[in-house]
Symmetry: C2
Subunit: 123 residues, 2 copies
């Protein structure tokens, strides 16, 4: 990922409102939510929400599709994961083993439990 892109993406997530919106959409998955539902869930006034939705859309962290008079928003999960990869790549100069001992549990798109399963045992 290009550095200025990553900066813009982190900037998108640096606002309390936008972070709440994005996490809500991540939780919804492919179903997404229309603007009104998001506003109701997070108690953000329409105009303010629109401002932040526009910002998130411009960075492509969320996508929007029209449904009649509604605008449906969805999280761009692959982009989120690219950003995470950019942040964490080359950990300890490509020797992540140096870092492993200080990591307890990590959720990277799934509950931490599911990951620890893959690290400990398989059902």
């Amino acid at each position: 990922m290009y550095h200025p892109t990553a900066t813009l993406l982190f900037n998108s997530l640096a606002s309390g409102v936008r972070l709440n919106v994005f996490r809500l959409l991540v939780k919804q998955g492919p179903a997404g939510m229309v603007a009104g539902e998001i506003g109701a869930a997070l108690e953000v006034p329409p105009a303010n929400l629109s401002f932040h939705l526009k910002a998130l859309t411009q960075t492509q962290l969320i996508t929007v599709t029209q449904e009649g008079r509604y605008q449906r928003y969805r999280a761009n999960i692959p982009l989120m994961l690219d950003l995470v990869a950019y942040l964490t790549e080359e950990c300890c100069s490509g020797n992540p083993g140096q870092c492993m001992d200080i990591r307890s549990g990590v959720a990277c798109g799934e509950p931490a439990a599911a990951l620890s399963i893959s690290n400990q045992e398989k059902p």
Copy 2:
């Protein structure tokens, strides 16, 4: 992770200078770097670098220890991973299977292979 904390952390990473500093320190791992080395590597004037190092230190994304007249900085990897977990948790309402098909490869501090093992077949 507490929401305001996550906002502060993303804010820390939303500056180009700070993102470069943090990624550089992630790359260095436990060895860390002293302020002068960071400034030389990234070509940031001392006063400006100090400003951003302080911001990163206050959010605990990096730690600082004194070594004689030098200040050695290190990335706080566990906190970084907590933040990643906060961003990505509850993906698709805890049914990450819905998202898996759009995820190609993920570097989350460890090889993507370990993650895909837990995702490919789920009971």
